[in-house]
Symmetry: C2
Subunit: 272 residues, 2 copies
Amino acid sequence: MANDLIIAPDPSKPGLTRAVTATDQTGATVVLNVVEERPLTIWLNGSEIVTAMTIGDYPEYLALGFLANQGMLAADETVLAVDYDDDLETVVVRTDGQTSYEEKLKKKTRTSGCAVGTVFGDIMEGIAGVTLPDATVCASDLYALAHQINQMPSLYLDAGAIHGTVLCQGANPLVYMEDVGRHNAVDKIAGWMRATGATAADKTLYTTGRLTSEMVIKCAIMGIPVLASRSGFTAWGVELAGQVGLTLIGRMRGQRYQCVAGEHRLVRDVDL
Amino acid sequence: MANDLIIAPDPSKPGLTRAVTATDQTGATVVLNVVEERPLTIWLNGSEIVTAMTIGDYPEYLALGFLANQGMLAADETVLAVDYDDDLETVVVRTDGQTSYEEKLKKKTRTSGCAVGTVFGDIMEGIAGVTLPDATVCASDLYALAHQINQMPSLYLDAGAIHGTVLCQGANPLVYMEDVGRHNAVDKIAGWMRATGATAADKTLYTTGRLTSEMVIKCAIMGIPVLASRSGFTAWGVELAGQVGLTLIGRMRGQRYQCVAGEHRLVRDVDL
């Protein structure tokens, strides 16, 4: 099934893992396949925004998606270029004119010196008006997705210590991103969606990681109405999902799962 | 064994979890115990530094440890007060006079507007001169630690979706912190060590999470010579551990483990 994906994990891609020599409990030398983790500094026009720790693939999608999910890049802003420099470990997103983020940043730096608090406030503002589209998600599709994703060759199966996030439609995984940071994997999907103009209303987002406030906020900003995971929830993630009307499904194990918000989209079409 | 700890997890403590109503795969209503996740904004004197997403316990230790691990609070700086305000969700660390961080911040904001990159650069600088103490770690102690920690009542066993980090000495877990953010759990331990003046040279840090660059850097800044986990590694985590001479042991499962750096401290005292 994996070769039907638009973007599938590529565990054999050079540069994503490294052979590390270790000793095991007996003292024997073993060679481990270990995932890479590199700094990538994201710039928006003339402003240095953040240094992300990432496995390093799809840096352009990561930058675009990070900025979009942080509310620093409005949906109607024209992106002129996304320039990645491997040596400098930087990616610069260029827009036509100053973004609203840069104006906010200027005001804020006078009082507090660091934008982290501002950014956080902006994100909460960003989801205040979000209404997610009507849609349905069938339990049979969720089972099919989990089964395919769990079996698909991936860096997770190959080297571990990595998170995966998959953009899905019905029973089909479309874009499967992996990263050492769970947030990066989601941001890379957001960047791909922005770059390709993909619709969100008919999609499901599947993640291997926990369903925290950050994941719920990103999914809501991306406009995707269903978020599912094999992992559990945090209370604020559940609360925010309720506020924005996101269908939030977690703890998927075999045929079991739990739906904590947006129950109205869920169609239980499997006879258990 | 749990009651021998100085700080043990307290899954029954009010405010750390919340009952959430969900439906399961059959449509039946179930009540889940879900961990809390709250914003906590950390201030250093007059500067807003960061908003952390945390489960909410030990906010004073989290703030102290975060600032210390970011290199914003030197070991010789006098902390006058750590004021936590539950309603405002803030904690303010007050020192006598401006910290070096605030000076750096002022210079930096003129050119880039946001301190995230600076902070990152400072951290790498911070470990450049680190030499970790000579020490030994016995395999038998690692087995004993993993066994105790895995069995101990915790939020992880009770509600899931949380990471644990444990400060240990020999075969004894001493301080066991849990948090929705792995980095927060470590920072709370760093804050406890700073507040109590605990020595680092004779300690082992055990974590449930992955051994990334961030974990290795924090452990090195804390001066702890051994870092162990049931999870795997990232390549940069391994590389940095080699640079600072940290003993890095991962993938602990039953009697198996792998040591990727600082092998000289490891005593294989168990006949397998």
